[in-house]
Symmetry: none
Subunit: 244 residues, 2 copies
């Protein structure tokens, strides 16, 4: 449903921010960009430069004179604000609203609206919004750049989309019996090389067991550690002896 | 515990990215910035410009010649990568690891390491990391700008702040230099016992490094594993030889 999200930028002053917004949209699978009365006081050169490989989104943007025109076909309108205060007490975080927005996007366009770099959204624009979000930030520096704010909103929408598949590790997690054989091999090896004596072995193996349990060992991991034990034993038995 | 997070930028090419990183750090309450061999092929002018009101972070940065120097006092080292593949199969998302990182930050420095704009982190730098993270993105445009990647990581750490109560472990997490000496000792031992040959040693040590990074090793853990290497070497050199 990512194609049903529309990013709406109102009165943007710097074209570089529009370019950065395009790149962030591409990173998180959004494609529909609407500009409302862009100012671009710095011309348009930075837009393409900062869009990097997301220039297709920039090229396919739609430009409107008023916010209402950009929202005509939208079922939900999500305003972003850095401020609290009057008209803004019902703000939520992007993480809180993302699942609901996905639900709304199943049968209509959902607009995410970002205001001017200096003044944000004005009260009559906030009044058009069905949802208001504010990104949690540190108290001492609450002001996010517009492209950064978009990035986090797009990221949260992407994360809530359920489409992300965790990277697949080639070697699967080792089974308990595999890990048990590993510990037995290490016990034998550590006794042989004189790391511990039989009467302390149970205690020492608890420490080794803790180390091997700090994360989930894969089959490859276990095989490597078995190889270490096997080879240390071999070396202790067969390498030429050095005199003390 | 936000003050225990260190942002480490390796070989950064553009000073504007360093400035944007400072601003994003300020937005999410991070203050400790370390630069490793910054290139700044564009000079330094953009750094202050893009830091906006976060110039205090920029001014208080520390610069190092090597990554190891920047990590000396770190108990956890979190590498960021946009790629999957060899040595990178155990990556997690920032959201997954953020609570564990807060736990680690309760008694030590936690480094988040970001690579070059063009090439990311190199394999020998990845090998220094105790954790690897990759930000979920849309398949068609996976490459995030370095300041954008930092922004999302900092945001996830900020969002997870206060969400985790640290279970108390007697032995504190090991520092990076301690872990580095461990790997050196194991390398020597594994060569001596014939587990690997010199020409394959770098590759094999990546596997060992991955195993030792599946969780945060404590000082006790590292000392035990050092003892194993020491004793296996001793045994290989001094135990009576058995005839084949």
């Amino acid at each position: 449903m990512l194609e049903n999200f529309r990013i709406v930028l109102v009165g943007t002053l710097y074209s570089g921010n529009i370019g950065s917004v395009c790149r962030a949209m591409a990173n998180f699978g959004l494609t529909d960009l609407a500009l409302v009365a862009p100012q671009c006081v710095d011309g348009w050169a930075d837009a393409a430069k900062l869009a990097v490989h997301a220039d297709a989104i920039l090229d396919q943007r739609h430009t409107f004179d008023t916010l209402d025109e950009a929202l005509v076909d939208c079922t939900a309108v999500v305003g972003t604000t850095a401020r609290l205060g009057l008209y803004r007490q019902h703000v939520r975080t992007p993480r809180e609203v993302a699942p609901a927005l996905h639900q709304l996007a199943t049968n209509g366009k959902v607009a995410l609206v970002f205001g001017r770099e200096d003044n944000g959204l004005l009260n009559h624009e906030i009044a058009r919004c069905t949802h208001l979000i504010r990104i949690p930030t540190h108290d001492e520096y609450v002001s996010l750049n517009i492209a950064q704010a978009l990035l986090i909103c797009a990221y949260e929408i992407f994360m809530a989309n359920g489409s992300y598949e965790a990277p697949f590790e080639k070697s699967p997690p080792a089974h308990a019996d595999h890990r048990l054989r590993l510990l037995q091999m290490w016990r034998e090896m550590l006794l042989l090389v004189g790391f511990m004596y039989e009467e302390k072995a149970d205690h020492m193996m608890q420490g080794i067991q803790r180390i091997f349990s700090r994360g989930a060992l894969s089959v490859d991991d276990v095989n490597i550690l078995m190889g270490v034990a096997r080879q240390a034993e071999w070396a202790a038995k067969h390498l030429p002896r050095k005199e003390l």
